[in-house]
């Protein structure tokens, strides 16, 4: 127990450090770069709207939540304090909208669609991977391997385009137009079946895309780790001891074969969230990726910065959870780090 808690504290400190580093880096990136967005915006205000220098500075200061007349380090201090208070500044383009409210509005949809599809694909993928390992060289293994290789090879945004081209436009199997957005007009978030089914309907295409593009990785990795595990001495010993097959499969093979997949899970999460940038914009699913894409296209810097920070925080937290889970499952890792 002593070990576990010091391990826990160290992991939490590390996550906090990463978040601090990323926020600091973004702050100085935005402020110090030649032709940085703040100066560009101020110049734009002066040249296009005929504002005086002071007016332009004040407006920019209120939008970015930074007072530009102070020394850089004081600005940095204020920025960090504001962040802790949850103040990420305001959108440059939609006047009067805070970045925080934009995130609160769009992030849940991405967490919902990405989380659900990753869960589905992890469970299905590991099961199929074990089946492939046990039935290796059968027609089933060949068919599943071919499918998995194909699906891991195609970038997920290309799969999204293919879905639109074939399911939506050429064969007209689904109504891509009606599925746009994250909810149908008139539906309010509530604990009702109508809300839940509508949310699923609109998220269906992104979820399907994430599912088919991530499942192959789990299947193939699980197959190869299972095969490697099957060759281990302790499995042979377990067989020699006459343990029932199901017990060997579950407690000896499955558990050990799954370990490497947990490191992949955290990587996969960041990857899928990253891919949502394009996938959400192809399906016009209004999640955080869609929002970030729009913000980048229109160079809405406070939104870009805030959304990017928030995505990073979400992934850091997920990483932390996966790390803890991994160390729980594989004591060797924890003990190696303590020792």
């Amino acid at each position: 127990m002593q070990f576990l808690s010091s391990f826990l504290v160290r992991r939490i400190l590390r996550s906090l450090f990463i978040v601090w580093l990323v926020t600091t880096a973004t702050f100085f990136l935005v402020r110090l770069m030649p032709a940085n967005p703040v100066d560009v915006y101020i110049n734009q205000l002066i040249s296009q709207y005929g504002m005086s220098k002071d007016e332009a500075y004040n407006l920019a200061a209120s939008l970015f939540s930074i007072d530009f007349n102070q020394p850089l380090l004081v600005q940095y201090g204020n920025y960090m304090v504001n962040l802790l208070k949850g103040d990420l500044g305001n959108s440059l383009l939609s006047k009067g909208t805070t970045v925080l409210s934009i995130i609160a509005k769009f992030l849940p949809w991405t967490l919902f669609s990405v989380g659900l599809s990753l869960l589905l694909s992890f469970v299905l993928g590991t099961l199929l991977g074990m089946v492939m390992a046990y039935k290796r060289e059968s027609w089933l293994d060949h068919a599943l391997s071919a499918f998995a290789s194909l699906m891991t090879s195609i970038p997920n945004y290309l799969v999204a385009i293919l879905f639109i081209v074939f399911l939506g436009v050429q064969w007209q199997l689904v109504d891509i137009q009606a599925m746009r957005g994250s909810l149908s007009p008139g539906i309010q978030p509530s604990f009702t079946w109508a809300f839940f089914s509508d949310a699923l309907y609109h998220a269906a295409m992104p979820i399907l895309t994430y599912l088919v593009t991530t499942i192959g990785r789990w299947m193939l990795t699980m197959k190869s780790t299972t095969l490697a595990t099957l060759g281990e001495d302790y499995v042979t010993v377990a067989r020699a001891r006459g343990l029932p097959d199901w017990q060997i499969t579950l407690s000896y093979v499955g558990r050990n074969a799954m370990l490497p997949l947990f490191t992949l899970l955290t990587i996969s999460l960041g990857f899928v969230v990253g891919g949502s940038l394009l996938i959400e914009s192809y399906f016009v699913y209004q999640g955080i990726g869609f929002t970030l894409g729009e913000a980048i296209a229109r160079r809405d810097y406070p939104v870009m910065q805030g959304v990017f920070l928030m995505i990073t925080v979400a992934v850091v937290v997920a990483n932390l959870l996966a790390d803890l889970l991994y160390s729980k499952l594989d004591p060797r890792i924890r003990i190696a780090e303590e020792g």
């Binding site: 090879s153 970038p155 385009i161 490497p260 990253g274 910065q305």
Partner: protein
Amino acid sequence: MAQLARKDEPGQAETPQSNGAIRFLRLMRRNRVGFVGFLFVIAVLLLVLVGPLVVELDTKTHVDRIYAAPSWEHPFGTDHQGRDVWAQIVHGGREIIFVAALTAVIATSIAITLGSLSAFVGGKVDALLLGAADVVLTIPQFPLLAVLAGFIKLSNTTSIAIILGLLDWPVLLRAVRSQVLSIREREYVQAVQSLGLGTGHIIFREILPNMLSYITITFILGMTGAMYAQVGLILLGLVPMSTNNWGVMIYLAWVRGAIFFKDSILYILAPIGAIALFQLALVSTARSLEEVFNPRLRVGE
């Protein structure tokens, strides 16, 4: 186990090179899918490197054959300006593959060096490297790239490859490190260690040879990852599109609404197919290489 794995590796110091190559090809042929993939990779490389010398790229606009259906003259039809799609496919691969390979070289070298160092030296070095990798890894790469591209102009291909490579290594580092860690715990390595042979000997003679399959997979993962990020940035419209390449073709086809016409569907499908098939071929090559290198995966011997 160590002895077994050693014997089957091509290009080992003790076996003559030609013998190794033939042996390698014979082992590759064992996995039919993998071998087809391997041949396909070579075919694409040839097409992309030699093809442009044979097939001429048409840059003029032909109003009389906009979105023409596939024909003998234009096997993949024509685009929104009446230009031949096949010629664009032939010319459009070089840049993408160059960037992908360069990225993979950069990322793999960093990952292998730091990964084995990290696992082997342990202690503070391990913590520091893992920490550094964690920072880069945890930041979602594609959003970071997109945001960066919003700030800086990614103007030439080499700078894209360098940025991608610098962001790509942590994924591979973790994989290399955990692999080294697990090999290090095996009996034969511990035996060598107890014989008092140096760390260099253990890393280069005992651990790395047993990781060749892993390094290859690593390299290919790096390449496919680089293609993903690169094409993604193009599709977001964040990379200047001066040259002809598969990503730009998809972007233009999408923007010009090629998907709504039956005849021009190949304009968007051809570059998607090119990227997808090339990636698929790379991955299946990797898988059959894995079988060549890892006798434990071989069946029916």
